[in-house]
């Protein structure tokens, strides 16, 4: 299991214990974490699971592919260097300690 902490819009923090192989978006949506929409179910069509990476754990994040990069150009909130789509981050033991900030808006 992988501990991932979300900083929500109201500044509060919530940590989810995510099963290996599950995407961070999927876990957040399933637990109804406010601010992660994930409308398309993680097939890289909607850009509504945008997060800002605040801190990474011991491991490295998976590299960003061309499609994710393209979709990030279309996110509703400001795109920053630390922007990622959380559907493209699969939980791995090395990612424990990951801290993600939820952006101001997704749509």
């Amino acid at each position: 299991m992988t501990d991932v902490t979300f900083i929500l819009r109201d500044g509060s923090r919530r940590t989810l214990d995510i099963a290996e192989g599950t995407s961070v978006m999927q876990a957040a949506v399933m637990e109804n974490l406010k601010g992660i929409d994930g409308e398309c179910g993680g097939c890289l069509s909607c850009a509504t699971c945008h997060v800002y990476v605040e801190a990474i754990g011991t491991g490295a994040l998976p590299p960003m592919d061309e499609e994710e990069n393209a979709l990030l150009d279309g996110v509703a909130a400001e795109r920053r260097p630390e922007s990622r789509l959380s559907c493209q981050i699969l939980a791995t033991p090395g990612l424990s300690g990951l801290v993600l900030r939820v952006p101001e808006r997704q749509v």
Binding site: V29, N32, K34, E39, C40, G41, L44, S45
Partner: protein, 411 residues
């Protein structure tokens, strides 16, 4: 009397509506009623990753049990609703008994259009809508070598792609003279035909299915009106859906091939909302802006559900989101933004041979819809740009190879 929101239909729309009502501050009870025994799940993967066996059920559930509990949403699963009593303000359950409501939402979705030819009830004929449909088809795949897909629309083509990917010989039967004729302009229909043929699918256009030929109670072949028979082990039917509006009709709500709602998602009874595949709503992006429109998409279900929830809690907003859709076939993603119309002027940009292109739909010289293949940048740009319906010079648009946004700014 208890303030209770009852949501009929544990669909994408129903689930979203229940959670949205809570987030918008609704303090009463919320009961989400589903006919199927499974907790609310995502439908798009059923004809894609789930059918392929790549995605387990746990991964396509919409919310966890804990999330329902935390939001105070009571789930009543495996409980079909048989009637709405608007005077007593109750819904009657197939299991007997009734549930009282002070506000009601109908998110009943759509029913699959069933094949109506002789032999349609043979073992080995599968429709595609619910989890049970996908499970039944999935269970039949190991022993099958040849499939006939009836219907060359999104569902049929996605199923064809998955079946082909699993090694089956696949024939697609489409009654029209091109694939997905309602959704796409001819150029894209032709491109899809080439895509499927390049993967070894036998695409038959203008194919009139006469009957499913059986042997020992099982599918043996698809019989066409021209006398040809295509031998097969299974038949997958994807010939569209019809909105599940009968509960609403029986209750005397305004219905016209879907439950009629206003821009706030309310039905002809302001205590009752409807959202998703079942709700015909005034859509500002229709060719006649505001025309009553039925959309079958996850995004529409989500957006309408949020709007309907807002109306039910007394904080109405207007449903005006730019519609968008997607379809995955093999490793190709087709994304659509806006609502196209057969009379639109079509401008091609990009390179169909390279699998990266967009079709711009122009209406009165303005951008009305964009179909993108393998070009997510264009799709995302289109969803933003369409809000302002920018004027486009078709001459320039066809030559321009930069970003769609630049084209609109300068054009």
């Amino acid at each position: 009397m208890t303030d209770r929101l009852v949501v009929v239909g544990a669909s994408h729309a129903g689930c979203r509506l229940a959670f949205a009502a809570r987030e918008l501050g609704f303090a009463g009870e919320i009961v989400l009623i589903g006919a199927e025994p499974t907790p609310p799940y995502q439908r798009p993967p059923l004809s894609k990753g789930y059918l392929k066996g790549a995605t387990p059920l746990a991964a396509i559930l919409l919310k966890s049990e804990a999330a329902f509990h935390e939001a105070g949403i009571a789930l009543r699963l495996g409980t079909p609703v048989t009637a709405i009593d608007r005077t007593a303000r109750t819904v009657a359950l197939a299991s007997g008994g009734a549930i009282a409501w002070s506000r009601l939402a109908l998110t009943t979705g759509a029913r699959v259009r069933r094949l109506a030819v002789p032999g349609a009830d043979l073992a080995g004929v599968f429709h595609m809508r619910d989890l049970a449909d996908a499970d039944a088809l999935g269970a039949a795949l190991p022993g099958a070598a040849r499939a006939v897909v009836v219907g060359g629309g999104f569902i049929g083509l996605e199923a064809a792609a998955v079946l082909r990917g699993l090694g089956l010989a696949v024939t697609v039967l489409e009654a029209a003279d091109r694939l997905a004729p309602r959704a796409f302009p001819p150029l894209l229909s032709a491109w899809l035909k080439t895509l499927h043929e390049s993967r070894g699918v036998d695409v038959r256009l203008g194919a009139q299915l006469r009957e499913i030929v059986g042997r020992d109670g099982r599918v043996a072949a698809a019989g066409l009106a021209d006398g040809h028979e295509i031998a097969c082990d299974l038949v997958v039917v994807g010939i569209g859906v019809v909105p599940a509006d009968d509960l609403a009709r029986d209750a005397g709500l305004a219905v016209d091939r879907g439950i009629l709602v206003d821009a706030h998602g309310l039905t002809s009874d302001p205590a009752i909302a409807a959202a998703g595949d079942c709700a015909r709503h005034p859509n500002p992006w229709a060719a006649t802006p505001g025309a009553p429109t039925l959309l079958e998409s996850v995004q529409n279900a989500h957006d309408q559900a949020r709007v309907a929830a807002a109306a039910l809690v007394g904080r109405p907003i207007v449903h005006d989101a730019v519609p968008w859709f997607w379809s995955d076939q093999y490793d190709t993603r087709i994304q659509m933004a806006g609502l196209s119309h057969p009379d639109d002027e079509i401008v091609l940009r990009g390179d169909p041979a390279a699998g990266r292109f967009s079709l711009l739909h122009l209406r009165d010289g303005r951008l009305a819809a964009v179909d993108s293949v393998g070009w997510p940048q264009d799709h995302m740009a289109a969803r933003r740009l369409l809000i302002d319906r920018p004027a486009i010079d078709p001459e320039r648009a066809g030559r321009h190879d930069g970003g769609l946004a630049d084209l609109c700014r300068i054009g």
